[in-house]
Symmetry: C2
Subunit: 147 residues, 2 copies
Amino acid sequence: MYDVENSIGFLLSKAYQRAWALLREEIEQYELTPPQFALLAFLWREDGLTQTELSETGQIDRTTLGGLIDRLEKTGLVERRPHPRDRRAYQIHLTSRGRELEVPLSDCATRTLARLTNGLTETEVSELRRMLTILRGERTVYDFPAC
Amino acid sequence: MYDVENSIGFLLSKAYQRAWALLREEIEQYELTPPQFALLAFLWREDGLTQTELSETGQIDRTTLGGLIDRLEKTGLVERRPHPRDRRAYQIHLTSRGRELEVPLSDCATRTLARLTNGLTETEVSELRRMLTILRGERTVYDFPAC
DNA sequence: TCAACATTGACAGTATACTGACTATCTGTA
DNA sequence: TACAGATAGTCAGTATACTGTCAATGTTGA
């Protein structure tokens, strides 16, 4: 008989839901959701990419990303600027407020990780990270950087 | 600098998305989604629970579950029957077609697991299962069975 | 018995996530 | 240069997932 309860897929979905809920709790005061936080975190690393580029580096669906940016624009953390050489595209930039949040939000993420992995040792967390990276599969952008 | 790309939360979300996509591919022909499949799998184990009971054993949000059942009812795999002793509640039952799908759908799930964990050894998969179970956290239903 | 409280499921509203279609624009080639 | 095909971003539509609210019904205690 098939045992959903202990299937990797089911456990992944529940572990993910818990991770989401914990992070949501930590960043609630900033009126952000976990995916919005993740997008900000990519922007802290590199600013001014187009939506398509962001969608690739962040492994976020193009249409999903559009909505994320809409909402971050509305809350004033991000802005769309016209691309200087491509009238179809935008460059996505952090506002000063979006940049200021890097330190406090990173702290939230650190606390969340601690709470989430409370039952695991540091070695186990590294192992988990390694295995999840394998499960996650190829990220075509990085696998074929210059093709 | 905060490294989203290698954070457990981000990796969980991407691993989950890949698991979803792979399972979706396998069960597409049955016009099912992964959460619908998971609900069916719980029903194969035990039939006739109320929505609230199912929501607890399956760790599925009550309102989300309502929608899942709506759609499974529409595709004829499940039916709501009035509860004999509680006029507020329904008992959720598999139809014969819902029951017939146990074997073929279980095969789909087995194939999906194989594809998903292609890069891991069997020992690693067990380790992963154990760690995800810890991350997932308490399931109040099972932790406090009779309170 | 009856009033206070709890529970069941539905509904509205919001945010992801993804598909498929579409417009505007860009690029490469004849 | 002109055109065919590719690309950037949006929009409509569907399915989860969750919050808050509500009506109907149960349950419990005075």
